[in-house]
Amino acid sequence: MKLDAKIPDGPLPEKWSSHKFKMKLVNPANRRKYSVIVVGSGLAGGAAAASLAEQGYNVSCFCYQDSPRRAHSIAAQGGINAAKNYQNDGDSIHRLFYDTVKGGDYRSREANVYRLAEVSTDIIDQCVAQGVPFAREYGGLLANRSFGGAQVSRTFYARGQTGQQLLLGAYSALSKQIGLGKVKMYNRHEMLDLVMVDGHAKGIVARNMTTGEVTRHAADCVVLATGGYGNAFFLSTNAQGCNVTAAYRAHKRGAGFANPCFTQIHPTCIPVHGENQSKLALMSESLRNDGRIWAPKDPATAAKIRAGELDPNTVPEDERDYYLERKYPSFGNLAPRDISSRAAKELCDAGHGVASTGLGVYLDFRDAIQRDGKKAIEERYGNLFEMYQRITGDDPYSTPMMIFPAVHYTMGGLWVDYNLESTIPGLFVGGEANFSDHGANRLGASALMQGLADGYFVLPYTVGNYLGEQGIASAGTVTTEHSAFAEVEDAVESRIEKLMSIGGTQSPRSFHKRLGKIIWDECGMARSREGLEGAIQQIQALRKEFWSDLRVTGDADGLNPELERAGRVADFMEFGELMCRDALMREESCGGHFRVEYQTDDGEALRNDADYTYVSVWEYQGDDTEPALHKEPLIYENVALATRSYK
């Protein structure tokens, strides 16, 4: 596997514009002769499909929901970053670039991150033009807030629904193209494999989830924008259907998978309530601006609270450990996500946790309410408090909110070069599905920015460049009649048959839960050599059990949610092992990846720049062979590597 990042020459600020100038163009009259498959209708996929169709290409777009508007981008609450410097507080493209590289703990590619910061401003223009109702000031200008501990106010937001509003913007542009016949939309279709012809991605095989029919789709190239793989952990803030299937199938066909162990655990989620929990709810990070995070100093006090014998409000001030304020005085409750999450876990592990399970800490608004009044807090967080009360039944105005970290985002993904092209020619990857621009840790409000940057402003250029390079003579030459399609279709059909016919006793969900627990315990917030080695063995054993004792009810020739889940879990079963392998290989702590063996004396992450300043890229070698590791060295020419300190 050859890794050529294709980073353009020249100074950082000029790379993207000079690269665009050198790209091959496709004559407008010829564009309609090409077709492009876009899998995914979230911010990345929806924006790319609409923009490519506007340019004149024929696009087929796929999603597993019943409408493209329901992609999980819709759930983002907090906001989207852009270096507009509307607040005149010293923001700039360079600062956003720098913050992102630093926030990612120096494990991302400079050139890509710079481009992201550069196009961030165009995104806001584009969205406003589409009618995205961002929050405004009384003077009519756009409002901003500071988010996730950033020192400038560069976050744009639309009430608590930034994701929905941005997605509706992309969806409306996509809908226009569907109405015009330039995009053919395939709702309730799940991509199950990639089809390659002469080493290039030329199509996909999907399952029509309504009829059960396995269908072939050919094109001149394929774009994957299928989101993240957080559901490998079973419990996460992702939607139920989020999966790794599309990306993992592409990986098995030859696409390198980068940094699979880089996952983000968000510190402010509602704690698990019981055995039947199916997902975790995120509480916006903005709550940390006013809430104070604490746990009882004395584990005995925590035990009493857990048993319901003590009201947390009665715990005296000197018996509360405001641990973030104590450990990180300059950032306090706003310490970055990875650091805050780990601190909560450590306390709970040491017996200080609250909530019935012992896995919770307090996010307390008592002092803020005393300081600013209940009304002010209600204005700021009213809808979040309501949501909390709806889920837990507790009133956060009178009893402190309980939070615990949960899996939220995956920085790892398919490896892509500067053009967002994977190691398979003609296979492009955008949004959370690629290994992206966030290194080992993503900053708040940067995923929406990256999804739209890829979809509106990068892929439409780089896909066109690829098609131009292939030449007009190649356009439309591969059809579904090609034998490669028949082969892949057979493989997909026989896998479905196999899943249906095991005839065991355990449900897909029960396997998913068990897998998730292994990954959460050993490849979650704290990882160790011993734990990871054990996890790999446990996953292998569980996978065997899965293929011999799975029970899928219903039929394959119609809507069957059990079968859908079984297929996704089957891929997580293989992919989970890859996550553990990657975590085991990376003998350092950086960002969301914390190896207990590599920490400073006071328990902070210990990065090893001399040996690990690279992207780990895994190549699939066969079901019974270990994957091969390749390395893309990361070269920092513009930012000096430093230790992240939030003390």
Binding site: R70, C127, V128, P133, N276, Q277, S278, R390, T553, P561
Partner: protein, 253 residues
């Protein structure tokens, strides 16, 4: 808690369908309505029976995918709450709960509790957009928008496209949904250019998809999980009348 469930089962669009009764014994009050159904599915699988099909995805009240009629009410008894955000503590131990799909002719059942909502997408495809080709936008702050206008657009844009309003309406009207979309775009300066075209096209598609007219029953507003208000329908009616008049004198392109 223990529950008796009466659930609509239907093999396919052509099957007639029927209610079936199930019992669940060990439901936690803290679990959500859909987690309760997960539990039922696990029980069915353990018994070797076919699990239930129902739509859901985000499970946090924003994607609009969940869609159950619970005891006769789309999204169930709690105000401004989607099915996925409804929790079992709102039900009584030993209660019988009836669960059906959306009931509306233009949204036919695909299987069990899953319906086809593609007509709602087609309404949007016919005009529910502001044309802004990628790359053509002006600087975002070039057009200041009064906060109030922005807020109105945002109120309307909160619609999650779930279709509960259609399911609740005795006429199976899609007016609330369409009105929310139209109001969102028509109220913004960016949306003015295509305003008449948009309104006429969306209403005409809505009629063509078999949704009936609005007779001001108000059930839609009562079940809407996002609090979309009936005023939006009044706004749509005004915009529609004005577009029709203009269209009469000079056809709207």
């Amino acid at each position: 808690m223990k529950l008796n469930l009466r659930i609509w089962r239907q093999k396919s669009p052509l099957d007639k369908g029927r209610f079936e009764d199930y019992q669940l014994d060990d439901v936690s009050e803290d679990s959500s309505f859909l987690e309760m159904l997960d539990l039922l599915c696990e029980q069915l699988v353990a018994q070797g029976k076919e699990a239930l099909a129902f739509d859901h995805d985000c499970r946090e009240g924003i994607c609009g995918m969940c869609s159950l009629t619970i005891n006769g009410i789309p999204h169930g008894p709690e105000k401004e709450t989607t099915t996925c955000q409804l929790h079992m503590r709102h039900f009584k131990d030993g209660e019988t709960i009836t669960i059906e799909p959306w009931r509306a002719k233009p949204l036919p059942v695909i299987k069990d509790l899953v319906v086809d909502r593609s007509p709602l997408d087609r309404i949007i495809q016919s005009g529910g957009f502001i044309t802004a080709r990628t790359g053509s936008a002006v600087e975002a702050n070039a057009i200041p928008i009064a906060k109030q206008t922005g807020d109105t657009a945002m109120d309307a844009a909160a619609c999650i496209g779930c279709g509960a309003c259609v399911a609740a309406c005795p006429n199976a009207s899609a007016m609330l949904f369409t009105a929310a979309k139209v109001t969102h775009m028509n109220s913004l300066p960016q949306g003015k250019v295509e305003k008449d075209r948009r309104t006429l096209a969306m209403v005409s598609t809505m009629d063509g998809e078999g949704f009936c007219g609005c007779t001001n029953v108000g059930e839609c507003e009562a079940v809407c999980p996002k609090g979309i208000a009936l005023d939006m329908i009044a706004q749509l009616n005004r915009d529609y009348t004005s577009a029709q008049v203009k269209n009469f004198f000079e056809p709207v392109q």
